[in-house]
Symmetry: C2
Subunit: 108 residues, 2 copies
């Protein structure tokens, strides 16, 4: 089962690290207990809408941007989207190469 809180936690942590902020700094600014924010980031606790708004504010990041990133990551987990770079196939499908027969070219 795909869990939204897992993606929300990952996104909040990534935005925090991207801004070079510590868990203590963000928790302090958002007036959230450090242990609670840590559990939210690890996807172990659901963040209430009020906590989400306070943390987004402390990260200077609009909620729409956070939820947009959550949506993008959910799409990858749900197989509806592929991460950047992954559209290059590791192997070429067999039916794409079946018409290529070098031995015939050599004979011609």
């Amino acid at each position: 089962m795909v869990l939204v809180r897992q993606e929300i936690g990952d996104v909040l942590r990534d935005f925090r690290l991207q801004k070079g902020r510590t868990l203590r700094q963000v928790a302090g600014e958002a007036s959230v207990a450090l242990g609670y924010l840590s559990e939210v980031e690890r996807g172990q606790k659901e963040a209430s809408s009020e906590i989400l708004a306070a943390v987004a504010d402390a990260l200077d990041t609009p909620l729409s941007v956070i939820m947009g990133e959550v949506s993008d990551r959910l799409a990858i987990v749900e197989g509806l989207s592929v991460p950047l770079g992954s559209h290059v196939p590791d192997t070429v499908p067999a039916d794409l190469v079946s018409g290529y027969r070098p031995e015939l070219l050599a004979r011609g």
Copy 2:
């Protein structure tokens, strides 16, 4: 304060209505109490990630699509985006029409 649960509730209700489903049908399929789902739709209760996944499944709508719509609506509320159609002004700015003086045309 912008509350995510308000947008989630609106989006869940809109997707449900768009599919012509009743609250009772979706609650039944998602194994959620009808009163609880109703409160979630009205933005009065936070939906846990498990409930969100079950309701999304009952609506045959990926969570990424639901959260993407939530993100879009949050952007409008946050003033980062404008709803479709809203870029057409209701009134024409005065300085755009000040040069148009029909009485001069009639005289000429």
